[in-house]
């Protein structure tokens, strides 16, 4: 058998090849497993994957624990944000009301939007995906379990911090879109809480996205080629990719914004050459894909429920995949439709109107594929299917008003009115809330091994469905009658009063529906008989779960040849349970899952995944400190916290990742032996770095976009009378940093430990020297970042590079220590590969940054 067909020549030096037969023959599969052996294997697996007990329960990192915590926390934030909405509806029930003050109302609507987006919708996708994706793929766990746990704890800390600010009356109050100059000039801590608290959560979201992408690409069961994998996995892949390219522009924007708030660098201040429009562009380049980041995962849930309800495979699988990918791409070309009223030229408006309308086609394909599947099969109207039908009814209405507002001149009338409030709630309730509810009812027997009440579920559905329409249908008219969004009160004589009263009544009906659901979710169900293993007669692998629950994820990792294995591979369940398939044992007591190739899912490696630890919690707490403390404009404790966070992460990597194994190969069963340690493009860690750096480069590209934006917005950029960045020092810095990159690369090729260590030390010195030269290139000529946006954006690029070089030096030091303590050798060199990969991206960024700072202003 050959190595990964997608990267035959670039695989890590000396990675051992898999040995043995693949795919397994029918004869091998039908051979029974001795009863006693199976019992012993089960015992070992159970012990290895055991969830810690008592207070150590919170050290768990397994996807089934973290996924449940994550989704319940996101649901909790949704309830809180919903309470804010109810309070706002009370204020708006009657005209000239004084139930809430203007300031409180402004904080509430800011937090309602921010929390629903950043603390509910995106985390809920990641939570659900972490919880159920491994089961779809018959993987034992996510590829980086501690990263999931770290992301979760970051989310909890950041979310409590941001949401808690409401209780103290210091919450952000400039809207979830935070437009400068209002938000940059806002007094108090609100804007800082928003910027730093949510940036922290965004970083955690990107971490989860990286893990989900690697999970889909590398952790599929043997045989599950990419065109066989469940549609849910496709959507996770698309949405993960979108997060990777959508969040970084916002993070870059947050960075610029916070530099203005904290240090008075005038990025958005028109008096010093800044431009508030840059924020709007960066925000909506994030903000529009965000809508689809929320919508697609929920459609993914529908794509799992619809075939089950129809008892037929999905019609138009390839159409759906193409549409999902197409929506992902298109969503990055539409952001200007949030800016139709900013006075952009007609030609741009026409272009973005047309692009926005184009989304109708992939969306239409997906909806009609569902309808077609329902028509081909015979539908069983189960409770989850009822919620899906409700979702389609609501979503199509939201989509149709979307077609209206994408017409720019019509948007001039309804933009920033209650018409838009109605439109976006129709798309988000229909496109997210209802499908997620359907998903909860559908997957509940898988997650909790119990069922939710059919009767309460129907009550909840009808209350939510009716209440939703009572609330939001009238809002279309309220908006057309001229009521703007974000107003804390309104006069009684212009015909808005009765419409608002109806909406308020409706909002409480929705709340009742959600409460019925919440009660059903948490009420004790101990007396219930155990539900059947596959209650909906579904065809996908998650329903091979064990009832009652086992922590091992899957008893053995099956060989999969169908999109609906439970329908098409009749003996799969029996063989899986018997431990006939791969990795049926945990002989060394280590948590293991299988890594397969990206396209055709051929077995490549046994990955030893990380287990329970407190370190993720500590790392998250200190990372939180580094983000949260600067909110109060206190910097030294923040720096200390950041250092401790880095220390925790180093300790975590050092003690648990890329451990040198006791043997080269491990017998995984069915006559196949797989390598335990691989480095380079075959290793999931390398993929994690590669994907992370794509996102990182997107953030960097956003800063570069900023330079060009200032130049096109202002003909006199760079302005007269400001010095240039010193050419000699900047080029010198680039040379030193490139040399560091080259030396690092050379180390990857050398076999001698001593010279590797010396070279790494040299690379670190070169990098530090290069960073110092870059700082000097701007500092010596006297570029003052507070004077004008031109020196400010030059400094922003340099600060970005210096921060990255610091991380690069830490990574080089990690490798140096690895050689010194025998954790890295010429054969076991995964960290070195990953460091080199990081430096490839960094070297490219350095060259671009030097061109942007030292060359470009001279040319302009």
């Amino acid at each position: 058998m050959t190595s990964d067909a997608t990267h035959p020549s670039r695989a890590g030096r000396g990675n051992p090849e898999p040995i043995g037969t693949f795919p397994p023959t029918e004869e091998m599969l039908s051979e029974p497993v001795p009863e006693e052996l199976a019992r012993a294997q089960e015992e070992r697996l159970r012990k290895t994957w055991e969830t810690p007990k008592g207070w150590r329960y919170w050290t768990a990192v397994n996807n089934s624990e973290v996924g449940v915590w994550y989704s319940l926390t996101a649901f909790g934030f949704m309830l809180l944000a919903g309470v804010l909405a109810l309070l706002m509806r009370v204020q708006l029930a009657v005209p000239d009301n004084d139930f809430l003050s203007a300031e409180t109302f402004n904080q509430f609507f800011t937090m309602h939007g921010s929390a629903m987006m950043f603390l509910f919708a995106v985390p809920m996708f990641e939570a659900v995906a972490i919880l159920i994706l491994p089961a779809f793929l018959a993987a034992r766990d996510m590829p980086f379990p501690r990263l999931s746990a770290f992301g979760f704890w970051c989310f909890v800390i950041g979310g409590v911090f941001v949401m808690g600010s409401v209780l103290f009356g210091v919450a952000p109050n400039s809207g979830w879109f935070m437009y400068p100059p209002l938000a940059t000039k806002a007094e108090g801590l609100g804007s800082d809480i928003w910027l730093l608290g949510l940036s922290f959560i965004e970083v955690a979201s990107i971490a989860a996205a990286v893990e989900l992408i690697v999970g889909v690409l590398k952790c599929r069961p043997p045989g599950m080629r990419i065109n066989v994998m469940p549609l849910y996995a496709w959507y996770v892949l698309v949405v993960g990719g979108m997060i990777l390219f959508a969040f970084p522009p916002l993070i870059a924007g947050d960075f610029l914004f916070e530099m203005e708030r904290s240090f008075d660098w005038p990025f958005f201040d028109p008096e010093r050459g800044g431009d508030p429009m840059l924020w709007q562009h960066l925000f909506w380049i994030f903000g529009h894909p965000e809508v689809y980041i929320i919508f697609l995962p929920s459609i993914a849930i529908a794509a799992m429920i619809v075939p089950t309800a129809a008892r037929r495979p999905m019609v138009g699988y390839s159409w759906i995949v193409l549409s999902a990918v197409g929506t992902g791409f298109l969503s990055f070309g539409l952001w200007v439709h949030h800016m139709f009223t900013t006075g952009l030229p007609n030609i741009s408006l026409g272009f973005f109107s047309a692009a926005s309308e184009a989304v109708v086609i992939p969306t239409g394909i997906q909806i009609f594929a569902f309808v077609a599947t329902l028509m081909v099969g015979r539908v069983r109207m189960s409770l989850p299917m009822l919620w899906i039908a409700g979702a389609l009814a609501i979503f199509t209405a939201g989509g149709l008003t979307g077609i209206m507002v994408a017409i720019a001149p019509f948007d001039w009338q309804v933009h920033d009115t209650y018409f838009i409030v109605a439109h976006l709630h129709y798309t988000l309730f229909g496109g997210m809330v209802f499908p997620v509810m359907a998903g909860v009812y559908y997957f509940y027997p898988f997650i909790r091994k119990q069922t939710m009440s059919e009767r309460l579920g129907r009550w909840s559905f009808w209350l939510t469905f009716v209440g939703f329409n009572v609330t939001f249908l009238p809002m279309h008219l309220t908006g057309l009658k001229g009521m703007p969004r974000r107003v804390f009160t309104y006069p009684g004589d212009i015909g808005w009063d009765w419409l608002n009263m109806i909406s308020t009544i409706g909002s409480f009906i929705v709340a009742a529906g959600i409460l019925v659901f919440a009660w059903d979710l948490i009420r004790p169900k101990g007396h219930q008989p155990t539900p059947p293993r596959n209650p909906w007669d579904a065809g996908t692998l998650e329903w091979t779960h064990d009832v009652p629950a086992e922590n091992w994820g899957t008893r053995s990792i099956p060989y999969v040849t169908s999109r609906y294995p439970l329908w098409d591979q009749p003996k799969l369940q029996e063989r899986l349970d018997a431990g006939r398939y791969y990795l049926p044992d945990a002989a060394e007591g280590l948590r293991e899952t299988m890594i397969t190739s990206v396209i055709d899912a051929r077995p490549l490696q046994v990955l030893r995944v990380t287990g329970p630890s407190w370190i993720t919690l500590w790392a998250a707490a200190f990372t939180g400190g580094a983000f949260i403390v600067p909110t109060f404009h206190i910097y030294w404790p923040a720096i200390l916290s950041a250092i401790l966070a880095v220390a925790c992460i180093i300790w975590w990597l050092w003690t648990s990742t890329a451990q040198i194994p006791e043997a080269e190969h491990k017998d995984v069963g069915l006559g196949l032996k797989l390598p335990i340690y691989v480095s380079g493009p075959e290793a999931p860690g390398w993929w994690g770095v590669w994907i992370t750096m794509l996102g990182d480069s997107t953030a960097f590209a956003s800063l570069v976009f900023g330079v060009f934006f200032y130049w096109t917005a202002d003909r006199s950029f760079p302005p007269e009378g400001y010095p240039f960045v010193d050419m000699g020092l900047a080029l010198g810095g680039a040379v030193l940093l490139s040399a560091s990159w080259a030396v690092n690369l050379w180390v990857r090729g050398t076999a001698r430990r001593q010279s590797a260590m010396q070279a790494l030390a040299l690379a670190m010195l070169l990098a530090i020297g290069g960073a110092a030269a870059l700082i000097a290139s701007a500092a010596l000529p006297g570029l003052d970042p507070t004077a004008h946006v031109y020196p400010a954006i030059m400094w922003a690029l340099i600060v970005w590079i210096v921060a990255h070089v610091s991380l690069g030096v830490i990574m080089q030091g990690y490798c140096l220590a690895g050689f010194a303590f025998g954790r890295i050798t010429a054969r076991y060199d995964a960290p070195l590969w990953n460091t080199c990969l990081y430096w490839h991206f960094l070297a490219l960024q350095v060259l671009v940054a030097v061109a942007m700072t030292a060359l470009l202003p001279r040319v302009l």
Binding site: Y179, L182, P276, S323, L400, P409, W412, L477, G482
Partner: protein, 335 residues
């Protein structure tokens, strides 16, 4: 039977009537009287009918296949449905809509040919400057006003928008769509009102604490009346008439109101707050949130921040009631 038929006929006649009157209002985009707003209202009704039909079609189909239809469609037809419903049908609908909808766009962005206005968004009021038809906007405006715009019916007025500190958005729904106002940048639109009347507008971009309380009236006049009005608006303030108004003018001077407000023809030249030269002639007070009368003026001067949270004007609760009343009389008389 007969009774129910009668009821149904009654409902069919009354229903749309009630529905349409429910759409009316001083700030409604569905009571359009400006050329651009009328075009958009027409577009809206067309889109609404189309959207309703499409919604019924899709959801009717879903209802039919999940609840009524028990057969099994052939996969070939199913693929036909995906291509027909998901690609061809939306392509046709959306392309025609784009052609129809976007063709309305250039009009509202066309240059005006009548009076020119420059409107500046402040927190939370509107500064308004006028140039008559054909005047060069590089010259100083002929009249400065606040919180109300007046336009002649039948011609396309040119409107320049900008802002002082934060972003606002200018919107008179009955006349046309909105456009944002940015600090340090000028955006342009034009409006062509067709019918005489008073139309309410409101800031549409969140601009801080009292965003909700930043409204204005647009008063559309016959062209002749408008010319006369603009001539009068360009004049200095009329001297106070009567004892109370004269006393009010003294208090205005004593209290230092002129540091922030201008009353042309008097020493009051402040530019921080709204120009008050012809305050009494406006249709509302405090950016569209109070009626223009003596009571309202007194209430406002006494404590602006309790009516408009965050307003920068201090309260004058130290004034004797009589003085306050005199001051209000003076201001109300500035027609």
């Amino acid at each position: 039977m007969g009774k129910s038929r009668g009821l149904r006929t009654f409902a069919m006649i009354l229903g749309p009537g009630v529905l349409l009157s429910a759409c009316d209002g001083p700030q409604s985009a569905l009571s359009a009287t400006g050329a651009d707003a009328i075009a958009m209202e027409g577009l809206f009704w067309v889109m609404l009918i189309g959207a309703t039909l499409i919604w019924i079609l899709i959801n009717g189909l879903i209802y039919y296949v999940t609840r009524v239809y028990t057969g099994s469609l052939s996969p070939r037809l199913a693929h036909g449905l995906i291509v027909g419903g998901g690609i061809i049908f939306p392509l046709v609908v959306v392309t025609s809509l784009l052609v129809y909808g976007l063709s309305a766009m250039p009009e509202q962005r066309a240059m005006g040919d009548g009076v020119k206005l420059r409107i500046t968004g402040e927190q939370w009021w509107w500064r308004v400057e006028y140039w008559p038809e054909g005047a060069d906007p590089a010259n100083p405006p002929v009249a400065v006003s606040a919180n109300e715009i007046r336009l002649p019916a039948g011609s396309r007025a040119e409107i320049e928008l900008t802002a002082a500190k934060v972003i606002h958005s200018f919107w008179i729904p009955a006349l046309g769509g909105k456009l944002d106002m940015f600090p340090g940048r000028v955006t342009r639109m034009s409006l062509k009102p067709l019918s005489v009347g008073v139309y309410r507008g409101q800031c549409a971009e969140f601009c801080g604490q009292s965003h909700a309380l930043m409204a204005l009236n647009a008063v559309v006049m016959e062209p002749g009346d408008f010319d006369a009005w603009l001539k009068a608006e360009a004049q200095d303030a009329a001297p106070p008439k009567g004892y109370a108004a004269t006393r009010g003018a003294e208090i205005f001077a004593q209290q230092g109101c002129g540091a922030c407000h201008a009353v042309r023809g008097t020493p009051a030249r402040g530019g921080v707050g709204p120009d008050l030269t012809h305050l009494g002639g406006r249709t509302s007070l405090a950016a569209g949130i109070l009626p223009m009368d003596r009571e309202a003026l007194m209430k406002w001067i006494l404590s602006p921040a309790s009516l408009k949270p965050g307003a920068r004007m201090p309260g004058y609760d130290h004034l004797e009631r009589e003085d306050l009343s005199a001051l209000a009389t003076y201001l109300e008389g500035l027609k």
